[in-house]
């Protein structure tokens, strides 16, 4: 899940919630739907394979990316897929952020969101 300590409201776009390398890999996976590490490295060729490997491990551990082990007698590799669509991830992150806001400020938060809904 998104680490609260890592959220930075001042950054642009998804960089608010992820590191720049994580964002690039996530966006690529959303675009391609599934991919191997070598394919990712071909598309993001300014990063080293070691750097991409570390980032992929981290994304899998935090549950944003799923990987499947292809394990036959002659070949072994991981295939990566995004665990959520971009919209699903939006919901997930919003829920966590709103929950924490409600924890701190109570009903004021839901009232504020009511106003936004009316405007829409």
């Amino acid at each position: 899940m998104v680490k609260f300590s890592r959220i930075n409201i001042e950054s642009e776009g998804l960089n608010k919630f992820f590191s720049p390398n994580e964002v690039r890999i996530l966006q690529l996976l959303w675009e391609k739907e599934k991919s191997t590490s070598t394919e990712i490295n071909e598309c993001i060729n300014d990063l080293s394979l070691a750097c991409i490997a570390g980032t992929l491990d981290r994304l899998v551990k935090s549950g944003f990316v799923e990987r499947e082990l292809i394990d036959t007698e002659s070949k072994i590799k991981y295939i990566y897929r995004p665990a959520h669509t971009k919209a699903e991830m939006g919901t997930l992150i919003s829920e966590r952020v709103i929950e924490s806001l409600i924890d701190t400020f109570g009903d004021t938060v839901t009232d504020t969101f009511g106003k936004y809904k009316k405007k829409k």
């Binding site: 080293s48 991409i52 036959t72 007698e73 072994i76």
Partner: protein, 222 residues
């Protein structure tokens, strides 16, 4: 420091039970010499145990005022040993969490190489020999061609076969997190080049982007 050493020896000379210490030292030395000829891991292990007992026995015989310093040194050494042990426990868990069991690929690879290969569940590029087992990561196996994998496995096999015993293997494995033993690596490289072919080893080392690439090339005479 020098005074402490002087005190150590004078205390031992004055002690009534110093013959036990001498006996232990002689046993440890004999086991060490036997190991040089037999190359059996158990012999050097026994020698290590007797040496540790002799060390403690020696410190127990301290009686002069400088002995306090000697105890402090002993404390520092045991502290370091405990720390090393803790790091090892941590590393054990780390590897246990990552190990993939029942992989078809690794079963096939183990059969081909004639030695057991264990897999690590990570995209990172890792190859370890730890506790007399060879671990290769999925990331490494994805990156290398079969002949290059053979070269890396042979390199690790050298480490597995040529570390005197389990105790030493563990300590070395933990210590090597900080101190890389180039000399051992170069011997292992030579072994791997003989077994799997020089060009396979070189291309594997290049792909793995090892930090001491040029030195390693020189080591295998390329």
């Amino acid at each position: 420091m020098l005074e402490a050493i002087e005190c150590y020896f004078s205390c031992i000379a004055r002690s009534n039970t110093n013959f036990i210490l001498f006996a232990l030292v002689i046993i440890a030395l004999t086991m060490g010499i036997i190991f040089l000829f037999s190359k059996k891991p158990n012999h050097i292990f026994l020698s290590q145990i007797v040496t540790s007992v002799a060390l403690v026995e020696g410190f127990l015989q301290m009686s002069c005022p400088m002995a306090g310093y000697v105890w402090i040194y002993l404390g520092l050494i045991s502290g370091a040993m405990v720390l090393l042990g803790l790091v090892q426990v941590g590393f054990d868990r780390h590897i246990q969490n990552l190990e993939i069991e029942g992989s078809r690929f690794s079963r096939n690879l183990s059969f081909e190489l004639g030695t057991d290969i264990y897999l690590l569940d990570t995209q990172k590029i890792k190859a370890y020999s730890y506790k007399r087992k060879i671990y290769l990561s999925v990331g490494l196996l994805e990156l290398l061609e079969p002949d290059e994998i053979k070269a890396v496995a042979a390199h690790e096999l050298y480490h597995v076969r040529n570390t005197p015993n389990r105790f030493m293997a563990n300590t070395l494995a933990v210590a090597s997190l900080w101190f890389k033993s180039y000399r051992d690596d170069i011997k292992a490289d030579r072994f791997a080049a003989d077994l799997a072919g020089k060009e396979n080893l070189i291309s594997a080392l290049r792909k793995l982007e090892v930090s001491n690439f040029k030195k390693r090339l020189k080591g295998i005479g390329a």
